[in-house]
């Protein structure tokens, strides 16, 4: 088991960035060491080591059922983990839950705004539960709404929003407390290409403005390639490859001995579809995980 995640990328390109890595090593936004979480017999996350550096956009990629959501739920304190496995800016997720939560903005996989409230009320709720004082509440809420371009729709009920608007509204909910770490679980799932770009543009603008760290999962390799500083490819509960998108593609090119640079999707196929696999297929899992709550009993 490697403690330095850079080892896993296993490319000469990684060596070239080693100095830069040393410079960034001082600040880890998230660090998981040996993170393991099982639902009964299913080991959803299996001995995961992960380090997200302060200020970067880190993409957690992987096929359906890889354990991305479970890992994220451990980091957000939603799932109980033993002490020492998860740290957020140095704070232990098991021992300092409140402290960790105060630094997080979290957007879950489902679209989760409250349709019975207006956009502004949705955001104001999160301002309240993060202890934003009354005198700056309205200003903060308006700022968060305008950061995601929802100022005009803020007075409408969220049930009238499109999928892309709800995602941006959730982004505003997460931003209103000025988190240091933004955790987005498949922020673009189920969105049309234009809405996807819209969501990413807002994520980028906000990050540029605030310098916050972003941990994001996605199935779309083109998005990861375009927007993530570094990505980790997860399969069956573990990180199988880690580095900048460029490094991973170079690495595959060298292993295959090809001249044309493969896409990140090729890297993904290489890892998720490799011998590691008695692939149970994404279809069933995808259905299962979206319907999980309906099926989950006992």
């Amino acid at each position: 088991m490697t403690t330095d995640p850079a080892d896993m990328s296993a490319t000469p390109a990684a060596a070239a960035t080693a100095t830069a890595e040393a410079a960034a090593a001082h600040a880890e936004a998230v660090s998981c060491t040996g993170l393991t979480y099982a639902f009964g017999e299913t080991k959803a996350v299996d001995d995961l080591d992960l380090g997200v550096r302060e200020g970067e956009v880190f993409g957690l990629l992987g096929p359906n059922g890889a354990g991305k959501t479970t890992a994220i739920r451990c980091i957000t304190t939603l799932l109980p983990v033993p002490a020492g496995m998860v740290r957020v800016f140095g704070h232990d997720a098991a021992k300092e839950r409140m402290g960790v939560r105060r630094m997080l903005g979290y957007v879950p996989q489902q679209l989760s705004a409250d349709g019975g409230l207006t956009g502004r009320e949705n955001v104001a709720l999160f301002a309240r539960v993060f202890d934003v004082p009354r005198r700056e509440r309205a200003a903060r809420v308006d700022l968060a709404l305008s950061a995601v371009d929802l100022s005009d729709a803020a007075g409408r009920l969220a049930s009238t929003y499109s999928g892309g608007m709800i995602r941006r509204l959730e982004l505003a909910q997460a931003l209103v407390s000025a988190p240091r770490l933004l955790i987005l679980d498949e922020p673009t799932i189920g969105l049309d290409p234009i809405a996807r770009t819209g969501v990413w543009e807002h994520i980028n603008a906000v990050r540029e403005a605030t310098g916050m760290t972003v941990l994001v999962t996605t199935h779309y390799m083109d998005e990861a390639d375009q927007y993530c500083d570094r990505v980790g490819l997860m399969h069956r509960g573990r990180i199988r490859a880690l580095g900048t998108p460029e490094e991973l593609r170079q690495g595959l090119a060298e292993r295959k001995g090809t001249d044309t640079l493969p896409t990140l999707e090729d890297v993904f196929r290489d890892i998720a579809g490799s011998g590691l696999d008695d692939n149970t297929g994404g279809g069933f899992r995808e259905v299962r995980s979206t319907r999980r709550t309906a099926r989950r009993v006992g």
Partner: protein
């Protein structure tokens, strides 16, 4: 190389990206300390409930139909039959506090279903990732149910007054009525959130909700005095918080003899126990 930390250029680009003064979105709010956290969270949840009621009052109106029918049909008929010993007051007056309590209870029992719905929709998860301890979240939800029940109770009180029930208009007593309705709703909503934490699915909770509301209602003094009940039902009524709520409402609204001290004591203890039970099971809903 070391000085090239990624944090440096951000302040400068802030204005360009978001256009306005973004200082507020860069400074995390100061955490509220110790005891001030709980009232703040309760207030936040109650605010949300009132905002939702303001946007959509259909539920308020549709849920007013049933109590109105109870009072209109059951109340007027039994007033004429004089079959139930009410201590000298018209039967419709006697049952009005019972119907008020019943309609508040239905709202509160529905709350467990709402929390499962919020879990399924991801809303609960998001709230659980805020600096809100589970007990504070449950207390907030429970008092939000109390506020919603209170609004419903006011509607039913108005209907009762329109039907000629002689109710008090003493503001102090009405304040006591509000307190009794809220405390009881805290208990009933926690009861249903506790069951939600055990059964975890909406369908099963619906079944449970229906299975317990009727016994709670008929096993109380809402429609008839305890003295006319068979012994086993009297025992049920003794441990049924609804009976204490109805006793308090009757005493306050109609001025009939009651045991306000015991009533409020039992309701407060029941509410506290309910909050404890529901908070300890909330983690199961998050998984």
């Amino acid at each position: 190389m070391k000085s090239e930390a990624p944090a440096a250029p951000h302040a400068a680009s802030a204005d360009r990206a978001l256009g306005k003064d973004t200082a507020l979105l860069l400074t995390p709010p100061v955490p509220r300390a110790g005891w001030r956290l709980l009232p703040a969270r309760v207030l936040a949840m109650c605010t949300v409930e009132l905002q939702k009621l303001r946007h959509d009052r259909t539920e308020l109106y549709t849920r007013a139909v049933q109590p109105a029918l109870w009072l209109l049909i059951f109340g007027q008929t039994f007033t004429r039959i004089r079959a139930i010993p009410t201590g000298g007051i018209p039967y419709i007056d006697y049952m009005a506090p019972g119907i008020i309590a019943q309609s508040a209870m239905f709202i509160a029992i529905f709350y467990g279903i709402q929390i499962i719905w919020e879990r399924d929709a991801g809303i609960l998860n998001k709230l659980l990732v805020t600096p809100t301890p589970r007990s504070a979240l449950i207390t907030g939800k429970a008092f939000a149910a109390g506020v919603k029940s209170l609004v419903q109770a006011i509607v039913v009180i108005v209907i009762a007054a329109l039907l000629g029930v002689a109710l008090t208009w003493n503001p102090l007593k009405l304040l006591g009525v509000a307190l009794a309705v809220i405390l009881a709703s805290v208990f009933f909503s926690c009861l249903s959130m506790t069951i939600a934490g055990i059964v975890l699915s909406r369908d099963r909770l619906m079944g449970f909700g229906q299975a317990i509301t009727m016994p709670l209602f008929f096993g109380s003094n809402a429609l008839y005095p305890v003295s006319v009940m068979p012994g086993w039902l009297q025992a049920v009524s003794k441990v049924n918080p609804l009976s204490y709520q109805v006793d308090a409402l009757r005493g306050l609204l109609l001025g009939t003899p009651s045991h306000l001290g015991a009533d409020f004591g039992v309701l407060a203890i029941a509410a506290a126990l309910g909050i404890t039970a529901a908070s300890s099971l909330l983690g199961r809903l998050a998984r």
